[in-house]
Symmetry: none
Subunit: 154 residues, 2 copies
Amino acid sequence: MRRHVLIFGIVGGLLIATLQYTEYRFVVIEHSVELYGALIAVLFAAFGIWLGLRITRARETIRETVVVREIPAQAPAVEPFAPNTASRQSLGITARELEILSLVARGHSNREIATQLFVSENTVKTHCARAFDKLGAARRTQAVQRGKELGLLP
Amino acid sequence: MRRHVLIFGIVGGLLIATLQYTEYRFVVIEHSVELYGALIAVLFAAFGIWLGLRITRARETIRETVVVREIPAQAPAVEPFAPNTASRQSLGITARELEILSLVARGHSNREIATQLFVSENTVKTHCARAFDKLGAARRTQAVQRGKELGLLP
DNA sequence: CTAAAAATCACCCAAAAGAATGACGACATC
DNA sequence: GATGTCGTCATTCTTTTGGGTGATTTTTAG
């Protein structure tokens, strides 16, 4: 959070510096204002996207405590799977760990998972390691197997 | 979380103010290039945030419909399980390959499988590689997943 | 506000897994 | 006898995983 401001400050400072520089450099020589504008545009667009993603990601984690409600459950059609919260909590497996675990179970590599969740591969590995530890698994295939046994995975 | 936006707004405002200030200070030119730049900057930043929100919204809605029912964590009744011979043969997967595959699915390592079947680890790897190829899998977890989808594995 | 829990990331190292070859024998079948 | 499939094994090399440790940041709970 403080880092965001810091980064923003730095970028802003650089931007201003660039502004002044380009002012002296280009404007006098009547260079393209469009290029200059486009540069800032791209810069800020990228920053905006990044910020937007960050914001929504924060909101998603809050959302986690949502719906767990009983339902008639008569249609086994496309079985909407709900992980067994009891065994999950008794093992101390966090929601995030389970999320990664389910992606592992779908056959994704750590790198793929990292890309998909917008985190670093190292983070995925950390989550994996902790989940494996809590499940008493030495391999991901074993973890998946255990997870299914415990009703944590579909 | 929403503080991000707030801070972003404030800093943005400050930036614009600064730009205008520097304009009065430095500019001897008729248009304010900075103001122009800042304008697109803000515009694109907003666009970026909007885009970020939009990108993640799709994922969120999916996530929301997920949780519906708890599943009893009890093991499925001891069913014999007969592997689907049709899809097995149509893929050209041999019995031996399926045998190794099922051990992979149970979470065993190549070495363990090799020991268990009295063959070399290299042999296991070969069988694995061929099975993965026939299943179109790049990883063992993926192969297991596909195998279950196809009814080859319990 | 503060303390605890969770999530994030980095680094190093070792082990496992996988890809790409090539090879050899057993066996069935035509 | 030639052919083809299958199971077996080796070698080399690259990638992926996993273990261990420590650190920072964010979130949550009290």
